[in-house]
Symmetry: C2
Subunit: 368 residues, 2 copies
């Protein structure tokens, strides 16, 4: 479910893969000390039952494999007497076979997990809006770039494709769905956590300066999506109803919204004993824009390399907006044309384009 | 990894699916009382940590979904106070997405698992030749039609494609590999099992009358495979080396061989505290042959319906025997021709053809 769907990239070979996922991977690798500290802070007994960690919204696991290798390798050395369960989670349609192939070292991506004794990798396809592991058994819940997916879209966004471009009642409806799903995410995690257990979450969101994914100063990615998709209405390719039905099932929450359930002592989250320990934001530069601006300066190449990574995670949303009566051929032609128009625009005028990541990260602890 | 690979069948629609898997499913459903009894015999405390069960070599889980719905639904009613973890296992290349879609009720196959509260379905891609879950945590290990897959083939079978047709030193080498892998399967399970935990295993094997899969009186399926594959050597389509390199990575063990580690007090299995409680054999009629003989009497239809189910699990072995220098087109043409020859043979002379299942089942317990 991560936006950096790596399966698609893997098909393009190792070099392409590493470019397209380097940003997401670096964000996760940089979180390794926080994840390690969240485990260390629990003063886990040297002997006892399994230590359980989850990686929620793992996609194919490629972007977190280095982090888990480091953190769980160190944990194994520190606590040789306790088994470790690493439970990857995503939705049923995720490519779990590719995940397991990466985890078990059957791809070109290096996995150190196989060298860690008494480590048990598993997967779950239970939504993070429900309980994934038995109550009181979770020591560390980790999630990167996944919690912005909401359980359902509350309504169509008539004049945009993403809630960041919605206004008034529509925006309120998405924010309300986002708040409801965030509460449910946290209360389910609170039930899963063992006493003293921790969450380390890197969420897509809106930072203190109003920045969010692909909107950090230059042309806003979601505005470009909306404008170019609407251009297909204007030239008669798609209908206004199809435009309206095209809605990313996502909510980008603000720092305030992420913190809200913790700041209300009467909330279900607070009553379940979950406390916010740290919260912050982080901007990570788009690796394609960085390569263009700092290195190759070739606008056509930038456009050619950048658009497929946008397409890899956004295409299902554009396809789902189109009328069910259209043939597969028709749908493919429309979507090809749409991304070609985005590529043309970037090639002609590359300045400021790019998909910088904006994360709101937080660490929370269950009362011990 | 089950021979009744249901993913292939699912693509052909519900009716085809149920015909192709009805035998395997019925075997598993008939085992439900044994599985329930293996749990009941443990007198599990009404409160406590998770009850963990595994389904090893689950493929897409379609053939065991009814059994688990019944057994775990009843267990939930009997022990409302304990979470249940159902861990499906197979190798990384298994279609775990299809498994999860079936488990979570996203296919046409009915799943009752979603209605069982406090049940946590998961998956592991750790081979059953290694530990799948932490030591001492497993209450019930179940496996149907999977343990005949060996961890490696010890040598080529020059004059056949399956060890059931091998002789002398070659047969001895396969039997030795089978014994080694069986020991490793059982000792890994012994380590996983909680005190009093049970195994319920339905293994493909050779029964007291020498019967095995597709060899219960009529033309022997593996002999037919070998003869028709060798006919492609004789007409120059494939080479003798390719024939020799075609080996099912399987060992069918006898009842004696299954029981041997238990009957030796000094074996690793016995020393690990694993005891054989019951052992037996069971023949299940081929549903395609039954439909032909009891119902439609149409030889061409029998051949047309029967061969794809053989193909679904045997094709990878025939493909892997072919030279790596052959093109995909060439390989597809050879394999198409091979299965067409089998279909022609059944259509022309259907008597006695069929893939009757022969299982050696056993129940074992870890010392309490």
């Amino acid at each position: 479910m991560r936006d950096d769907t790596t399966t698609f990239m893997a098909m393009k070979g190792a070099g392409y893969y590493s470019r397209a996922t380097v940003g997401a991977r670096d964000v996760i690798n940089a979180a390794a000390p926080q994840v390690a500290q969240a485990l260390a802070a629990q003063n886990l007994a040297p002997e006892g039952g399994p230590i359980t960690v989850t990686d929620m919204g793992c996609a194919d696991g490629g972007t977190s494999i280095q982090m888990w290798g480091k953190v769980l390798g160190d944990l194994r050395a520190a606590l040789p007497g306790r088994p470790i369960q690493l439970i990857y989670t995503d939705l049923p349609r995720n490519d779990f076979s590719q995940l397991f192939r990466i985890v078990h070292g059957q791809t070109e991506i290096e996995s150190r997990l196989g060298a860690i004794p008494d480590l048990y990798p598993m997967a779950s396809a239970t939504s993070f809006h429900r309980r994934i592991v038995p109550p009181g058994t979770l020591h560390l819940g980790f999630s990167a770039t996944a919690s912005h997916y909401i359980s359902e879209t509350p309504c169509d966004i008539p004049d945009h494709v993403h809630m960041v471009g919605a206004r008034g009642a529509v925006r309120d409806a998405y924010r309300a769905q986002g708040a409801k799903d965030w509460d449910s995410f946290l209360t389910n995690r609170a039930a899963e956590l063992a006493p003293g257990g921790r969450l380390v979450l890197y969420n897509f969101g809106i930072d203190e300066e109003g920045r969010y994914l692909g909107h950090t100063g230059g042309p806003s990615m979601f505005d470009t999506f909306a404008r170019l998709w609407h251009a297909l209405v204007e030239d008669g390719t798609i209908t206004e109803a199809e435009f309206a039905a095209t809605n990313f099932p996502q909510v980008y929450r603000t720092v305030e919204e992420f913190a809200a359930p913790f700041r209300d002592d009467g909330s279900a989250v607070s009553r379940a004993g979950l406390r916010l320990e740290q919260i912050g934001t982080k901007v990570t530069r788009c690796p394609f824009a960085a390569a263009f601006e700092d290195d190759h300066h070739d606008a056509a190449r930038f456009a050619r390399e950048y658009i497929p990574t946008l397409r890899s995670w956004s295409e299902p949303t554009f396809v789902s907006g189109l009328a069910k009566t259209r043939s597969a051929t028709e749908i493919a032609a429309i979507v090809d044309r749409f991304y070609a128009s985005y590529e043309d625009e970037v090639a002609a005028n590359p300045e400021g384009h790019g998909m910088d990541y904006v994360h709101c990260w937080l660490i929370a602890a269950k009362a011990g």
